[in-house]
Structures are given as C-alpha cells and as structure tokens.
Symmetry: C4
Amino acid sequence: MSTRLKTGRLEAFSDGVFAIAITILVLELSVPAVRGDELLDAFLSQWPSYLAYLVTFATIGVAWLMHSAITNYLHGVDTTFVRLNLLLLLLVSFLPFPTALVAEHIDDYEAERVAAVILGINLLLVAVVVSTMWRYAVDHRLVRPDARDEEVQVLTRRLTPSLAGYVAVIVIGYFFPLVAVFGYLAIALLLMVPLGLARDDDLEVPAT
Amino acid sequence: MSTRLKTGRLEAFSDGVFAIAITILVLELSVPAVRGDELLDAFLSQWPSYLAYLVTFATIGVAWLMHSAITNYLHGVDTTFVRLNLLLLLLVSFLPFPTALVAEHIDDYEAERVAAVILGINLLLVAVVVSTMWRYAVDHRLVRPDARDEEVQVLTRRLTPSLAGYVAVIVIGYFFPLVAVFGYLAIALLLMVPLGLARDDDLEVPAT
Amino acid sequence: MSTRLKTGRLEAFSDGVFAIAITILVLELSVPAVRGDELLDAFLSQWPSYLAYLVTFATIGVAWLMHSAITNYLHGVDTTFVRLNLLLLLLVSFLPFPTALVAEHIDDYEAERVAAVILGINLLLVAVVVSTMWRYAVDHRLVRPDARDEEVQVLTRRLTPSLAGYVAVIVIGYFFPLVAVFGYLAIALLLMVPLGLARDDDLEVPAT
Amino acid sequence: MSTRLKTGRLEAFSDGVFAIAITILVLELSVPAVRGDELLDAFLSQWPSYLAYLVTFATIGVAWLMHSAITNYLHGVDTTFVRLNLLLLLLVSFLPFPTALVAEHIDDYEAERVAAVILGINLLLVAVVVSTMWRYAVDHRLVRPDARDEEVQVLTRRLTPSLAGYVAVIVIGYFFPLVAVFGYLAIALLLMVPLGLARDDDLEVPAT
C-alpha cells in the first residue's frame, strides 16, 4: 500500500523533534538585565526557571527513552501508529510553553497554581499517548515476534503507574504548586531509574 | 555525474527542516504577563494562538507524511527533484510567519481577513509543490518499477482535491477569516484520514 | 587511529546545522503590529525582509547541495577535513545575523551599504571554505578512486567563478546595496542551475 | 532486555542536540538599532558577543568531536551510558545561556566576573561528563575489543588535562574575566589540534 512509512524516517523525524524541543528550552531563559555584582544574585534568584527547565528536559528525555524502547521492539509501524506518533510530537513540542508559564509565575502563588496544573496536564497527556502507543503496538501485533512476553509485560507495567503519579501530582499542584513542580521532576527521574536495570554486559552491537 | 545526491541525505535534510519548522512554532506563543488567578483566563483567551499553532502543526505533519509517502515510492532522485524539494522546504519553513500573523490578529476582523488569506496562500503553495513533486516523479520515471499502477493513481488522486479545497477555503477566508482557519485545520485532518486506509497487518519490516 | 570519524555522523551533524540555520531564519521576521486592513500594506512593505530571507535560504540551500555533492565523492574524511567542515558550519550558522542586518536597514542607504557588505563577506567566506574543502579533498586523495577526472574538474570549475562573483557583488554593494542583495540571490540561483545538468535518467538507486 | 537502545538512535538524537545548540547561538546576537553609517561601528563594537559566540561554538564543536571519537570506539551502550549522555546533552544545550550572560555584560567588570565564572563552570561540567563517559565506557567494557590499548590511553590522556585547564581559567576569570573568555577559546582550539594528528592517508571508508 502506498501509505506505508519506513520506520527509519519515523525515528529520524521523531528524534529531530525531541532534540529540538529539548534544546530550544534554553531560549525561554531570560538574561538578567542588572549590572555589577548583583548579577550573581539575579542569576541565582532565577532558580525556578532552571527548575522548570530541568523538569521539561528530564520529561522530554524520558519520553525519548520510552519512545526508543518502544520502537526498538517493533518490526514495523502502521498508519494509525504514525498518527499517534504525530500526536505525541505535538504534545512534546508544546511543552516549552507551559514550562515558560511555570518559570515566569513562580513567585505568584495564584498564577503558579494555574501554571503548575497546565504543565501537569501537558506532562500527563505525553504519558498517556506514550502508553497508548505501546498498548496499540502490542494489540496490533506490531511488536517483533521474538520479543519475550515478560519483556513486553515489564514495559506495559512501567508505563501505567506514571499516569497515576501525574494525576496525583496535578491535584497536589492545585494547592501546593511548587511541590508539584518538584513532583514532576521526581516522576521523570524515577522513570529513568527502572530503565537502568539492564546489566552492564547487556550490550547491543551497533547496527550502524 | 557529479551532481547526484544520495536519497538518504535528501530525506535527512528534509526531515530536519520539517522537524524544526514544526517545533519552533511554540516560540511564537507569548506567555501572558498577567498576575494572580487571571492567568487561567489569559491562558484560555489565547485560544486563537493555539488554533493557529494546531493548524500549522497539522499541515506540516501532513506535508511530512506526503513527503515520506512520495520518497518511499522513489528508486532515486534527479537534480530537478532536489530543487523542487528545496522549494517545498522554503514554503514549509516560512509557515510559522503567517501562523503568527493569524494568531496575533484574530480579534481584529479586517486584519484577520488579510492574515487568513496569506496563511491560506502559503498552505496552498505547499500543497501545489507537493503535488508537483509527485507528478514530476511519475512523469520522469523516478517511481520504483515495482509500484503498482493503482497505488500510483491513489496517491495522485489524493493530492489533487486538496488544492481545490484550499482555494475554496481561501475565498471563504476573505469574508469569514475564522471559518477559514478551522477550514485549514479540517483539510489537514482530512488529508491525514485517507492515508490511514492501510490494514493493520499491512506492516513494513524496518530497514534500519 | 582514535580520531577517525564516521562519514555518516559528519553528514548527519552537518545536515542538522544546515537544516536548522535554514529554518530559524523565519524567527527573524517580525509580525507587523498594525491593526485593520493596514496589515496588507504592512505585510507587503516588509518585502526587503522576505528578499533577505530568500537570499540566505537560497545560499544555505546551495551550500548544502555543494556539501552533498562533495561528500558524495569522498570515500572517507580525515581530521583536517572535519575541522574545515566545522569552520563551514560556523559560517553557515552565522548567516541569519547579517541577513537580519540587511532586512532591518533596507530603507536606510548608509546603513544598508554596511549591512550588504557584511552579508556579502559572510557569503564569500562560505564559498571560499566550500571551495577549499573540495580542493583539500582532491589534493589529499579523499576522493573516491572511481570518480572520473572530468567529473572532478567540473566540480572544481563550478566552485571557482562563484568566488569572483561574490567579490564583484560586494564591491557593487558598497555603492548600490540593494542591487548587491539581488546579486547575491542571482549568484545562489545561478549556482543551482548548473548542478541541474544531469539527465533525467541519471538516477541513483537509494542506498537507504 | 527491553531497555536496550540502538547506538544509532543515541547518535542521531545527540547529533540533533549538538547541531541545534551550536546553531541557535546566533539568535542571541542582537541587531544594532542604530541608523546610517554608524552601523559599522555598532557592528564592530559588539565584538564581545562574537567572541562569546565563537567560544561556545568551538566548545560545542569539540564536545561533538569528542563524543564522536568516543562512540566510534564503542561496540554498544548500556543504560547508564545513555543517562550520562542525557546529562551531557543537558549541559551542552544550556551553554547558550551563560554565553549570552557573558556577551551582554562584557563592558561591566563586576558583572563580567560573575558571567565568566558561570560560563567556565558550565564548560568544565561538559568536560567532566565527557571524560566520565569515556572512563565509564572503558571500565565497563563498552569499548570495542579490537581497539588497541595505546589508542584508548591516548584518548584518556587527552580528556584529563582539559579539566585542569578549565579550573585554572575559571580562577583567572574571577579576576580577569576577559582573559578567561579568551582562555576558554584557547582550550577549545587546543583540544581540536591534537585530534588532528592522524595522517592524511588515515582514511575511513564511509559505512553509509
């Protein structure tokens, strides 16, 4: 059929969007306009900006890791999967905007509540779509036949608790926005850890 | 001849431009400067910006899908095709500008008419060049010999109605600009649907 | 030796820089702040911005074509070539800045003279480095042994006249800056044409 | 195990981030708003911006060269290496921010001291993580078995002195910030030189 896509291009295009979204975050950081040795104070007092930067960087990093893990298991993609992938990229490339919302209002409790919830919803949607992509791939036999059942189940389990985690932290964010921002960071870092269970000798020869 | 290009690099360069154009759109969204719980209202009242963002994201996404479908059928490219490809990338990378025009004037009927028509013309030109690239490829036997005639005809048919659709919506845009913006979104989403006709078992083994 | 690089990564990194430089140009275009139907006038009166955009887009496009043509001929790269490549990328990624200089001062004769010469020098340096890379590759036997002598000579000849062209146009730019900007565009478009001499049946089977 | 990553995607994603970080630097350069032939003076008086631009460009360029040299030696990556790689990308993509700090305060001695030290710490951290990645790869047998011991030792030695160099220059930066900025540039250029020891006939056949 004419509409099939090479998996390679889907990966290349997605890698591009992930890489750009994770890199242009820095453009949202504003250079303090103060003069003299006040610059150090001004630089340090912007820490909420760096925190928001770190949260989004870590989340996009995790999304990329998950995306790589998923496509690594596939022996092909169908057209629905490609559209789910575009939806994921839409949500990922939007992330710098709520990140900027959080960074600019962190000293304003009422506004920060709004910003933290908006960021949380964006993060949750990323997690929902990643999870949906994996379930879709499993249900529609896009997964390589040689993948062991237990491996598939491990990845399925991994993707579910993070949804519950985001919902919990979004509710917290409505009352304690700054706690929620640290919570988003914690979720992203926790999601990085379990992916690290592979043993050191568990290498993969580069396919180049 | 010295001027031949690897198809791989044409795809890599194009994927890069598509990925960047689709991701830097977010930089055009402005963070509301209000304080307190007015942020939610300010965030929501910017919906035309998000709509324009979505229109351009969907259109670039469709252009990328079409581009992938086309190059997937080719067994090689010649130098004219490479230049048509550069023209397409010029039009795609320009899209964030009329998108910003639409987003910033959506509460100003007279200006919005102008912006909606300019965006529509940009979208139309993208569709014209994609269509031209495919027709050129068919006419100059760049299409793989093993591609079935009906597949080629399906892709040719798909690309033609969207031209008529854009012209119709641009005319509408002159009188009802907001309707036109939704119309552009509808065209992009419709163009995504027919590409989804492939069956679930219609997989492609990744070539890597 | 430990310092060898895969040609594939040099191409991927270079494609990335070319793609980004060519795409972020659009961020330098400013959205007119006028209201009502004056938007059309404001949009059109910005034509020098679009001209500068087009000049730089075409020049980066040509540089990418030349770069692709050159690396297509190589059977490997050495470490000096990699550094020349970094120098080229430095010059290419700088181009949006003199482009913005030209765009913002086009209604100011004295300033435009300065801007047009600065842009011209940047364009000239790009052409000098591309030419140097090719000569270096020829002199150090990086060119594939199966490349025919006449092909090598064609590419060498192609790269030389553009240097003279840029010098001539830069001098013109000192007196007639707007003429020079059109001249830069003409050079870029002319450089695209000769690369199009290949016959239609002169295809390359995609290596994927 | 489900968490293994193709080396190819790690390289593609990393190349994307390096390419974007090195290219968006130009967006931090501000176009002088002066009119008439004062533009030349205004353009030239911004030289500290160009110097900062050059420092960061050269440093990201070196980091990319080092990264390429390292991954070129690996026959695979494990999950810890992938996370170290994300940490490196975090530091690299942050670099445009301290670069802008330096560029905007270079005529303000007190502020410049702060900015130069912040930039130096960022550069040092990049060097530390690159060095750590290589040591980790050596210690965990990620290096290709056919790599000769002396090659491995050369790369190990190369990465260590730069750490000491950065520490020395950061201390200088606290007293003589402008000297430090030139020092950072010198380190980056010096790090480029030794990688150039390979002989001209030391080619690599492109793997494509």
